[in-house]
Symmetry: C2
DNA sequence: CGGTTGTTTGAGGACGTTCAAGTACTGTGG
DNA sequence: CCACAGTACTTGAACGTCCTCAAACAACCG
């Protein structure tokens, strides 16, 4: 190991595939920061000082302040947040609140902007990562615009697991009320929807969901046999 | 001019700021293509062969096939579409349908992927453009999740013009039914909402909207004086 | 012309929200 | 150890926004 922070960088998808020299340049400017659950990493409207890459723990991106909160997306280990704001140097559009304790790599935004204009590998990797995020957001927009609350919850469950059949259990990536606004519904509606999903083998135990058969959930969202 | 297609490239935001050598490399692989209104440039699920940059005319990105159509966004001259799919080489998530006749620059996706790994200026510019798109989508998600139909229509009107006060007239970027799903509502609801906006100085004449005073529309969406 | 498609308008109903009350779990301080 | 408050979640009831269905109208085109 040429630098003590390189192994951390390798854990982050954005940097994992970069060649050694690029990693070194990043390692020199990166810092490791701990954060604790429920703390804010940054707030909407602030100027971006850092790019955040999570080594451990997770956060939630929340739009809007005060009463009207809407969760945009959850992020976990290996993911990077707000590359967009950091690259453009524009104020954050959202708040970032930690859902658990954890650690993040902080890359100073100014340094990142400088590096990206000099390092092809890094620039190309940023473009690819942003492309992936773009597709995630497009999917979410499609989802909200074309599916009902029940279908959205079903799809969310499916997206949380890699398995396509059989039983699964997993922890929700945040509080139920956060998951609810992520799906564009209220906590009450989520609660009722989960209850109505019981008959399809979904059981909630605290923040853990037990699914008896993923394929039954999947059948809820697939277009029911449609003649044409 | 060193290449006949360079002036076209300069009209596209993605390429406008690139240095001469980068432009030349792109010009060598780019092609100009005409398209006519209502034709599909590509369809959901297809492998991306090109990156589309519009020189003239516009298109609409539509998610979902058959009955359930949801417009994701409108694009016009100077904008580029589906950089994300082209860079990753993954199937399109959406359809692209022309709203008017026009012309687009086509950059072969494979060539683009190759260039981006060799050309820092291009890679950095792609990352910045994707960042901007990312922010547009985040705004849209916030909008859908936290605002009512009337507020969304009001915000849409405001976003269509640069002016912040006085009278404005502008053409809708597509058919009313497309605008409706772009806003996450049905054509019927849009029609009714526009009617209810008449008392705020909004008048629809075909696909053109006449606004007597933008500030009156803006006042609809700003949080009404709220005591705390 | 009739046929097609986009838009408007009306009536009715469903889905999800809002409001409100109640339960369960947590940590705090007596 | 037990009240107490605070928060998350659940459940119920009533309302309202928006959608669905249906019909009429307008514009366009062979």
């Amino acid at each position: 190991m040429t630098h003590p922070r390189v192994p951390y960088l390798k854990k982050v998808a954005l940097f994992a595939d970069l060649p050694e020299p690029s990693l070194l340049r990043l390692a020199e400017v990166a810092g490791l920061q701990r954060f604790s659950a429920q703390s804010y990493l940054f707030r909407q409207g602030e100027e971006p000082d850092f790019l955040y890459s999570f080594v451990e723990g997770g956060i939630v991106l929340v739009a809007g302040s005060g009463e009207k909160e809407a969760v945009v997306e959850f992020f976990g280990p290996g993911e990077s947040v707000l590359l967009a704001a950091a690259l453009l140097g524009l104020p954050y559009l959202v708040n970032a609140r930690a859902t658990t304790d954890g650690q993040a790599l902080l890359i100073p935004a100014a340094k990142l902007r400088k590096l990206i204009d000099e390092d092809v590998a890094l620039a190309a990797q940023c473009a690819r990562t942003l492309s992936r995020h773009w597709r995630v957001l497009i999917s979410q927009i499609k989802e909200i615009k074309t599916h009902s609350a029940l279908e959205r919850v079903a799809n969310f469950i499916i997206a949380q697991t890699k398995k396509t059949k059989g039983a699964v259990s997993f922890a929700l990536p945040g509080m139920k009320k956060e998951v609810a606004t992520r799906l564009g519904i209220t906590p009450e509606t989520l609660s009722r929807t989960l209850r109505s999903l019981k008959k399809y083998g979904v059981d909630a135990e605290g923040d853990t969901l037990h699914i008896s058969a993923i394929e039954r959930i999947a059948s809820l969202v697939e277009t029911p046999p449609e003649a044409t």
